[in-house]
C-alpha cells in the first residue's frame, strides 16, 4: 500500500477527474500532433491521403485511449506492471521467431487487424515495471549491488532482444529510458559514473587500438563504424539520405520556403519524408522559426511532466512520469540529432509527427499513464 492508496479519499473521483487532468500537456500534445498533420498533408503534395487522414483518426483513437488510461487509478497500473513487462517480453520473443520482416528488420507481429510493434510496447512496460520495482523496493536497498543488478537484467533482456532485430534506435531508448528510472529512483551516482567511464574507456580502446598490433576489431568492422558515424563517407549510399536531409533543413533559412513550397520534399529528394525524416520537411517549409517552435513545444511537454513528477509524492507515479518523459525526450532528441547530422541514422521517428500508428498509439497510452499519475494524487 503506497502513500497514495492510504490517502485515496483525497483523490478526485468520477467526472471531477477530468478537471484534474494535466491540461497543458494535453494541449501541447494536440499542438505537436497538429504540426504532424500539417506536414503529412504537405508531403503528400497537398492531400489528406494517404497519410494525414489515417494519422488524424489514430490521434483521435489515441486521445480516447489516453483518457481511458488516465481515468483508471494509477495504482491499478502499478499492479499491472509485472504483467505488462512479462507480456511485452513474450511478444518480443515471439517477434524474433514469427515476426514479419519490415524495412529490413524484424519488428512487427501480426495480430489480425492490428500490426503490433512489441518493442514500442516494451518502451512503456519497461518504465512501468522499473517504477513499480522501485516503488516496491525499500528505499535503503536502492543502491545495494544485488538490487541494482536486478533492474540491470530487466533492462538488458529487452534491449538485447531489440538489438537482435536489429533495431538500434529502440534499443538505445530502452537502455537510456530504463537507466533514467534507476537514476531518478536514487541509485548511487557512482554506478552511473562507473558505467559511463567503462563505456567511454571501451570506445576509446577500440579506436585507439586501430592500426596497432592489438587491434580489437577487424578492419571491415571499423569501416562500417566509420560509415555509421559519418555517412558522408558514403555519399551515394547511407550518406545520400543524410546529405539530402541536411540540405532540406538548411535551405529553410529563418522563415522557411512556405507551406508546401519545400523543393526537397516536393521533388522526392528526401527519403522517408513522411516518417523518420519528416522534421526536415518541416524545417524546410517553416524555417528556423517553425523548427524551434516545435522544439519548444516538445521541451514544454517534458517540463510539465517533470513538474508533475516532482509534485507527486507517490513514488511509482513520479518515476513512471519521469521515465515516460525521458523516453519521449529521447524520441525527438535522437530523431532531430539524426536528421541534423549530429547522430548516426538509427531509425527513430519524430514522436506524434512522423506517420505511424503503432508509435503514436503507444505514446498516447504512455501519456495516459502520466495523466493518471497526475489525476490520482491527493488534492
Amino acid at each position: 500500500m503506497s502513500y497514495l492508496e492510504t490517502n485515496a479519499k483525497f483523490v478526485p473521483t468520477g467526472f471531477r477527474k477530468l478537471l484534474y487532468l494535466n491540461w497543458p500537456v494535453i494541449l501541447l500534445l494536440a499542438a505537436v500532433s497538429s504540426f504532424g498533420f500539417l506536414m503529412l498533408y504537405s508531403v503528400a503534395g497537398g492531400s489528406a491521403t494517404p497519410w494525414m487522414e489515417p494519422q488524424v483518426k489514430r490521434f483521435g483513437v489515441g486521445m480516447v485511449a489516453m483518457l481511458v488510461v488516465a481515468m483508471v487509478p494509477i495504482w491499478f497500473w502499478r499492479n499491472m506492471a509485472l504483467i505488462a513487462y512479462g507480456g511485452s517480453l513474450a511478444l518480443l520473443v515471439a517477434v524474433d521467431m514469427f515476426g514479419e520482416v519490415g524495412m529490413g528488420a524484424q519488428r512487427w507481429i501480426d495480430l489480425g487487424p492490428i500490426r503490433l510493434q512489441p518493442s514500442e510496447l516494451m518502451k512503456i512496460s519497461l518504465v512501468m515495471f522499473l517504477a513499480a520495482y522501485y516503488d516496491w523496493l525499500p528505499l535503503r536497498r536502492t543502491s545495494h549491488p544485488f538490487w541494482v543488478l536486478l533492474p540491470v537484467v530487466f533492462i538488458s533482456i529487452p534491449t538485447l532482444l531489440t538489438l537482435a532485430q536489429p533495431d538500434l534506435g529502440t534499443a538505445l531508448l530502452l537502455l537510456i529510458g530504463g537507466a533514467t528510472v534507476m537514476f531518478a529512483a536514487g541509485v548511487h551516482w557512482a554506478y552511473f559514473a562507473t558505467v559511463i567511464a567503462a563505456g567511454v574507456g571501451t570506445i576509446y580502446a577500440v579506436f585507439a587500438s586501430r592500426g596497432t598490433t592489438w587491434q580489437l576489431l577487424k578492419d571491415y568492422q571499423y569501416r562500417r563504424i566509420d560509415t555509421f558515424l559519418d555517412p558522408s563517407n558514403d555519399p551515394l549510399g547511407a550518406g545520400y539520405h543524410i546529405t539530402q536531409a541536411k540540405i532540406a533543413l538548411g535551405s529553410g533559412g529563418w522563415t522557411g520556403r512556405g507551406f508546401m513550397q519545400g523543393t526537397q520534399s516536393r521533388l522526392n529528394f528526401l527519403p522517408e519524408k513522411h516518417t523518420d525524416f519528416i522534421f526536415t520537411t518541416l524545417a524546410e517549409e517553416f524555417g528556423f522559426v517553425g523548427a524551434s517552435t516545435l522544439l519548444a513545444l516538445y521541451a514544454l511537454i517534458i517540463f510539465f511532466c517533470l513538474v508533475s513528477a516532482v509534485n507527486n509524492r507517490d513514488r511509482f507515479a513520479s518515476l513512471v512520469t519521469i521515465g515516460i518523459a525521458m523516453t519521449f525526450f529521447l524520441f525527438f532528441a535522437v530523431n532531430m540529432s539524426m536528421v541534423m547530422g549530429l547522430a548516426p541514422v538509427v531509425g527513430v521517428p519524430l514522436p506524434l509527427v512522423s506517420y505511424g500508428g503503432s508509435a503514436m498509439l503507444v505514446l498516447l497510452l504512455a501519456f495516459g499513464l502520466v495523466q493518471s499519475a497526475h489525476v490520482h494524487k491527493p488534492r
Binding site: 502513500y3 492510504t6 526537397q264 532528441a333 540529432s337
Partner: protein
C-alpha cells in the same frame, strides 16, 4: 507496501533532486539542438539553399535547327522537315498492351514497332515517353488526336529531321547526316554537349560533314525542375539556341540533275567549272544513292546493296576517283615542253608508229604512225610518239611541275569527303614512294598520262580551266556561308607564256572542230559556242600477248573491270571561255566516242542554262539528240517526284 511518511518524504526529495539533474541535462540537449538548428538554418542557410537549387534545377539542351543548304539559285538541297511521331508514356497509358492494340488498329503499326516500343518502355522509368512510330503521315496524326480519349498516354509530337529534296542528285556533294557514333565522339577532342542528346544527328559526309560546325548552330538551354528520380516537374525558363548558318553552294541543281541523268547507266563522273569564279556548277558522280535512306537509318540489305555494288555508288568519283588521265595529260607535257624552251611550237618529231626506249618498244595508238608531227598536230590527232620523244628531252621533273601548276597532283580545297590528291610523279616522288630511281621508261609512260600519273575528274577540270584562262583558277564549291560570300576562285595569271597557251588552245579547238580531230564527232556547231577539248583513253591494263593470241583485240572483248577509261576535258566557248568540263567514264572505252558526247551535252546545258536548241548539234545527230533530251527530261522529272515523295 505501506511506506512511512518519513520515507515518502525522503523519496520525494531524492526524486526532486534527481529530476533537476535529468531536467537540466535535457535542457542542455534541447539547447544543443536549437543551436544546431540555428547554425544550419540561419548561419549556413545560404549554402544549403544553393545546394537545394542545384539539386532540383537541371539544365537540358535544346537542339538548334540545322542550317539549310541551297544551290546557287536558292533551290533547297538540304532542309529540315517537320515530321510527326507517336509517343507513349507508360504511367499514363493504363493497360499498355490494350492501348497499343487499339493504336495498332487505328494507324499502320508494324508488330516490330510495337515490340520495340514495349521493350524500351520496360527498360525505362514509367514517366519517360517512348517513341512508338516515326514519320507518321498527317492522317494518322489526326486519327490519334481525335481518338485521344481512347488512347491514354499516347500523343503525337512534332520533330525536325533532315531531308534532301533533290535526293540522289546531290548526294555526293551535300552528303548526309546520321546519328553520332562512338567513333565520331572519339575523333573529337572536346565534344559539343549537343552530341550527347539521344538521336542527335551530325554530318557524316560531304558538305554536311565538312561544314558541320557552321550548320550545327549552338545549343539552347532550358532549365527544368526535376525530382530525385530525374522526372521533369516543370520548365523554369529557356534560352533558345542559335540555328545553324545556311550554306549556298555554287552547284546549279538543274545542271547537276541533268548531269546525273545523262550519266545514268555508266560508272562515271562530270565536273563543270565556271571559269569566272571557279564555281563548281555540277559535280556529278554516277551511280549515286538516296541520302534520305541514311537519315532514317539505312537497313542492312540497302547498305549491303550499296556497299557491294561494283560501280561504287557511295564513292564521289569526281574527287575520290584517281585515274590515269591518258591523252588528256598531253597538254601538260606540251606546255612543259614549250615553257622549257627546249622544244619549239613548230619543232617536229617523226612518228613511225612506235619508238624504242632502253630496249622496250612503245607504240603509238596509230600503228601506221603519223609521220612528221608538230605540237599542234600531236594534240589534234593525239600522237603518242611525239610525247615519248619530247618528254625524254625535257625530263619528268618539268612535266610534274607543270602538272602541279595546272592543278594535277595537288590538293584542291573542296568540302567533300576523302578528296584524292592524284599523283604528279617525279624522280623525288618515286624515290620516296618506292625507294627506286626514276627510269626513262617511267617518263615515257607518264608523257601520255599513263604509268604513275593519276588525276581526279576535278583536277582535270581545273587543268582545263587554267589552260583556258591562263589563271590559277581554283574550284569553289561553297558560294556563301551564313550570307558571307566566299572568296572567288578566279585566280591570278599564272605567268605562262600567252603565245604557248594560245597554240595549245588552238590545237584543242581543232581536236573538236577539225575533220581529223579526235573529238570531231562530238563537236558543237552553234556559232560562238564551239568547244575546245581533248580526249583521253587510259589503259587499266595492257592486253597481254596471251590474250592477243586468243583473239582479244578490242576493249569490248574484255571484262568490264579491265576495259579502258574514257576521258574528256574541254572548255567552251572557244572564243570567250566560260566553262571548263571534264568527264571520266570508268571502263567506258574510247574517250572521244564515249566521254566526249557526254561533255558536249553537259557543256551545252551549261552554256544555254537549260536545254540547248537542236541547231547547236551537227544536223546528222539532231533526231537522236531530241530523243535523248526528252528521255532525260522525263528522267529528271521522275527522279525529283520520287525523292519528294520519299
Amino acid at each position: 507496501m505501506k511506506r512511512p511518511p518519513k520515507e515518502t518524504q525522503q523519496s520525494a526529495r531524492s526524486i526532486g533532486r534527481r529530476s533537476l539533474v535529468i531536467g537540466a541535462s535535457q535542457l542542455a540537449m534541447v539547447g544543443v539542438l536549437g543551436w544546431r538548428m540555428r547554425s544550419m538554418q540561419v548561419d549556413e542557410g545560404d549554402i544549403y539553399r544553393s545546394l537545394a537549387e542545384e539539386n532540383r534545377i537541371n539544365m537540358r539542351l535544346i537542339a538548334p535547327a540545322r542550317g539549310l543548304v541551297f544551290d546557287r539559285n536558292g533551290v533547297p538541297l538540304a532542309v529540315n522537315e517537320q515530321n510527326y511521331r507517336v509517343i507513349i508514356t507508360r504511367e499514363d497509358a493504363g493497360d499498355v498492351d490494350d492501348t497499343l492494340d487499339r493504336l495498332a488498329r487505328l494507324i499502320n503499326l508494324s508488330p516490330e514497332e510495337v515490340e520495340s516500343a514495349k521493350a524500351e518502355m520496360a527498360r525505362r522509368p514509367a514517366f519517360v515517353p517512348v517513341t512508338v512510330a516515326e514519320r507518321v503521315p498527317w492522317d494518322d496524326v489526326a486519327k490519334v488526336t481525335v481518338n485521344a480519349p481512347a488512347l491514354p498516354g499516347i500523343t503525337a509530337e512534332v520533330g525536325l529531321s533532315r531531308h534532301y529534296p533533290r535526293g540522289s542528285d546531290t548526294a555526293h556533294v551535300v552528303g548526309y547526316v546520321g546519328p553520332v557514333s562512338d567513333y565520331d565522339l572519339s575523333k573529337i577532342e572536346d565534344p559539343d554537349p549537343l552530341l550527347q542528346i539521344p538521336r542527335f544527328q551530325i554530318g557524316k559526309t560531304g558538305v554536311e560533314a565538312k561544314y558541320e560546325d557552321v550548320l550545327r548552330g549552338s545549343a539552347g538551354t532550358k532549365r527544368i525542375e526535376v525530382n530525385a528520380a530525374g522526372r521533369v516537374m516543370r520548365e523554369i525558363d529557356r534560352e533558345e539556341g542559335k540555328s545553324g548558318a545556311d550554306i549556298q553552294l555554287a552547284i546549279d541543281s538543274r545542271l547537276q540533275s541533268y548531269a546525273e541523268a545523262r550519266l545514268e547507266g555508266e560508272s562515271a563522273s562530270v565536273v563543270v567549272m565556271d571559269l569566272e569564279s571557279g564555281d563548281l556548277r555540277a559535280v556529278a558522280s554516277a551511280p549515286t544513292f538516296d541520302p534520305n535512306l541514311f537519315v532514317r537509318g539505312i537497313s542492312g540489305p540497302d547498305w549491303r546493296a550499296l556497299n557491294e555494288n561494283k560501280y561504287r555508288p557511295l564513292s564521289a568519283k569526281t574527287v575520290q576517283g584517281a585515274y590515269p588521265p591518258g591523252s588528256t595529260f598531253k597538254m601538260v607535257v606540251a606546255m612543259a615542253a614549250l615553257e622549257s624552251g627546249l622544244v619549239g611550237p613548230e619543232d617536229t618529231e617523226y612518228c613511225p608508229g612506235y619508238t624504242e626506249v632502253g630496249g622496250t618498244r612503245f607504240h603509238c595508238w596509230k600503228r601506221g604512225g603519223h609521220g612528221n608531227v608538230n605540237m599542234h598536230r600531236s594534240l589534234q590527232e593525239s600522237c603518242d610518239v611525239y610525247y615519248y620523244e619530247v618528254s625524254q628531252k625535257i625530263g619528268i621533273d618539268r612535266i610534274a611541275e607543270m602538272a602541279r601548276r595546272l592543278g594535277v597532283g595537288v590538293e584542291h580545297d573542296v568540302p567533300m569527303s576523302a578528296v584524292s590528291m592524284g599523283v604528279a610523279p617525279d624522280t623525288q616522288w618515286k624515290r620516296d614512294r618506292y625507294g627506286e630511281a626514276w627510269r626513262i621508261g617511267d617518263t615515257v609512260n607518264a608523257s601520255i598520262g599513263q604509268g604513275y600519273v593519276l588525276a581526279t575528274p576535278l583536277q582535270l577540270a581545273v587543268m582545263s580551266a587554267r589552260l583556258a584562262t591562263g589563271r590559277d583558277v581554283r574550284p569553289r564549291l561553297v558560294h556563301s556561308v551564313g550570307g558571307v560570300i566566299q572568296p572567288s576562285g578566279a585566280g591570278e595569271p599564272m605567268g605562262l607564256n600567252e603565245n604557248f597557251l594560245r597554240r595549245v588552245r588552238a590545237a584543242m579547238f581543232d581536236v573538236s572542230n577539225a575533220q581529223r580531230g579526235t573529238g570531231f564527232g562530238a563537236r558543237i556547231v552553234a556559232e560562238g559556242m564551239q568547244m575546245a577539248g581533248k580526249s583521253g583513253t587510259s589503259q587499266v591494263r595492257r592486253i597481254t600477248a596471251e590474250e592477243r593470241a586468243r583473239g582479244v583485240t578490242s576493249n569490248a572483248d574484255l571484262p568490264w573491270e579491265r576495259r579502258d577509261h574514257a576521258l574528256w576535258v574541254n572548255f567552251a566557248p572557244y572564243d570567250n571561255p566560260r566553262f571548263a568540263v571534264s568527264v571520266v567514264v570508268e571502263h567506258g572505252g574510247g574517250g572521244s566516242s564515249v566521254a566526249a558526247p557526254i561533255a558536249r551535252d553537259v557543256t551545252l546545258q551549261a552554256l544555254y542554262d537549260g536545254p540547248p536548241p537542236l541547231e547547236a548539234y551537227p544536223s546528222n545527230l539532231r533526231d537522236a539528240i531530241a530523243e535523248q533530251q526528252k528521255r532525260i527530261e522525263n528522267h529528271v522529272a521522275r527522279g525529283m517526284t520520287a525523292s519528294d515523295r520519299a
